[in-house]
């Protein structure tokens, strides 16, 4: 299973120079997280693979637009997010909803939500029930532990919006899981 981003060791500068081995290392590092994120948004295996491929190609093409090497991960997820939005637009799906902003004391980490083995399928089911913007933010938080600023940059949303989306997504998920656990008990 891939480790959470060890950005210092990623050969981004070599990739900028066009070294295929560096790109291979970067893609190897991000291929599964990226696929997980894309798949959980588009819910289609082939579309997920296509978007990952398009993201890789776009990354190679537009590496010059990456300002800081340390932000390669969030930049790559930003490309993938844009590809997902393009796909949603083609399908004319409703992307954005209005959620009231959450209080500023949001400090939960990605691992604060621990799930029992028997609840794994239920967790996935509940995750898929969340509205797309909340799901997107929650996935970015879970998969790569991106900061709120990075998630805001990836999803091109306001920081407050991201905070509220993450807050409500987690709250909803926790509530649903607790309700499920109470029912099973």
């Amino acid at each position: 299973m891939p480790e959470v981003a060890d950005i210092e060791q990623l050969p981004v500068s070599q990739a900028r120079a066009g070294e295929p081995a560096a790109w291979d290392a970067l893609f190897r590092r991000y291929q599964l997280p990226l696929y997980v994120y894309v798949f959980e948004l588009v819910r289609n295996e082939q579309a997920g693979l296509d978007i990952v491929q398009e993201t890789f190609i776009a990354a190679v093409k537009h590496i010059g637009s990456l300002r800081e090497d340390a932000k390669f991960g969030s930049w790559l997820f930003g490309i993938a997010h844009q590809k997902c939005i393009q796909r949603w637009r083609k399908r004319r799906e409703v992307l954005f909803d209005q959620i009231p902003e959450s209080p500023d004391e949001f400090e939960d980490g990605p691992d604060d939500l621990l799930i029992q083995r028997e609840s794994e399928a239920e967790f996935m089911n509940l995750l898929n029930q969340l509205p797309l913007p909340q799901r997107s933010v929650l996935l970015l938080h879970f998969i790569e532990d991106f900061s709120l600023e990075e998630i805001a940059r990836i999803t091109e949303a306001q920081l407050g919006t991201v905070k509220s989306r993450l807050h409500y997504a987690k709250k909803t998920l926790r509530k649903l899981l607790e309700a499920k656990n109470e029912n099973t008990a």
Binding site: M1, P20, R28, P33, G48, L113, I115, L127
Partner: protein
């Protein structure tokens, strides 16, 4: 107990071979582009070689006997030319002692002077006479004398 991340990754681990294939295809394409760009300078040399090869195959090789014959004739001409030049140079070198040279030069100069003198005389003789009309009396005098 598992984290959401563990669950998500475990769930999609089966897509790893397809993702590897996607990654490889992109990297291979990148490799090809890099190779093309890198060999830009080498391209000129290789195209020149290719052109020469094509010329050899299309122009020279089908008529190789003719080209060989022509080459042999040219070589023969050069050999004959050089051998003749060498022999005349040797002959000159042999006959060119300083005393003999001065003698021959004197003889040649004398001959030239004689020829020139004869030429001037001959030139006078051959010069066309210009007819100058004279009074009739003068011509009659000449007749009576």
């Amino acid at each position: 107990m598992k984290t959401p991340r563990d669950i998500l990754f475990a769930r999609h681990q089966t897509a790893a071979p397809e993702l590897d294939a996607v990654r490889r295809s992109v990297v291979i394409e990148l490799n090809n582009k890099g190779a093309k760009a890198q060999s830009g300078s080498e391209n000129f040399a290789s195209s020149c070689l290719c052109c020469l090869d094509q010329i050899w195959l299309e122009l020279v090789w089908p008529c190789r006997r003719i080209w060989t014959g022509l080459a042999a004739i040219w070589i023969l001409i050069f050999i004959v030319n050089f051998s003749q030049r060498d022999s005349s140079q040797v002959h000159l070198a042999k006959s060119s002692s300083p005393a003999a040279m001065t003698m021959t030069l004197r003889d040649q100069q004398k001959l030239l002077n004689e020829l020139l003198a004869d030429r001037s005389f001959a030139a006078d003789a051959e010069r066309p006479r210009i007819y100058l009309p004279k009074p009739r009396t003068e011509t009659l005098e000449l007749l009576t004398v």
